[in-house]
């Protein structure tokens, strides 16, 4: 089955979404990421959505629930690379992704994760 690759970078996991997400793929990512957080004892998760030209309420909810699940598993989540047109649309849709950390790119996202994790430990 098709899946989104998850890379381990030190204490963090990086999931870079490179395809148009269908619903099953979004749910699979949620399962895979939570499993990997536990298996790799990850402290943080970066989700790169820079190639996504659409984030609807289903994908948005999946992102918010990954962040929620990760927090329960003692890991922080940062969403990086959201396109401006996607940000405008998400807010108008009514899904401002409150409680989800965001950063402009992977580098800034990593820095944010490091800060968050140091603060927590």
């Amino acid at each position: 089955m098709e899946h989104i690759p998850i890379l381990k970078m030190g204490a963090f996991l990086l999931a870079s979404i490179q395809v148009d997400m269908h619903d099953q793929l979004a749910l699979k990512l949620q399962d895979d990421l939570t499993e990997r957080i536990v298996r790799d004892r990850a402290r943080g998760v970066l989700i790169d959505i820079s190639t996504l030209d659409v984030v609807d309420s289903f994908i948005g909810r999946m992102i918010a629930s990954i962040a929620g699940m990760a927090r329960v598993l003692d890991a922080e989540t940062v969403v990086v690379g959201m396109r401006p047109s996607v940000a405008i649309t998400l807010v108008e849709l009514g899904l401002p992704l409150e409680g989800v950390y965001t950063a402009l790119n992977v580098e800034k996202g990593m820095a944010l994760l490091r800060d968050r994790v140091t603060e927590r430990s």
């Binding site: 269908h22 619903d23 609807d56 309420s57 289903f58 401006p84 047109s85 849709l93």
Partner: protein, 133 residues
Amino acid sequence: MNRLESFSLSLRAAEDIVRMRQTVREQATRLGFSLVDQTKIVTAASELARNTILYGGGGDVLVEALNERRKGLRLTFIDKGPGIADIALALQDGYTTGGGLGLGLGGAKRLSNEFDIHTRPGEGTRVTITRWG
């Protein structure tokens, strides 16, 4: 009304949503929509297509490229599902009869320039959205 092009797409399974999004994107690009306008209509379409499949038991979407004073894209989602008993309630953010967030209908309305819904319990639902470029 000057119609440049019109065709129907079938919406039966979740995979059809991705295919429809790509088609709507292509049409919006061809009509010269800005990136934000493209994203809004594609996102609205995604919400409504999911409703058609999840709540309407599947259906079709009619895609119409319009050329009036401005160029526009009109999408009509048609299903023969159970219909919606209370439209005002269904349009409220957070109201859902499924497991979703309850943003689909209200969100799609906000993302469109024109929004129209016809529904009758037991007979199905028809939602039309138009976005002008």
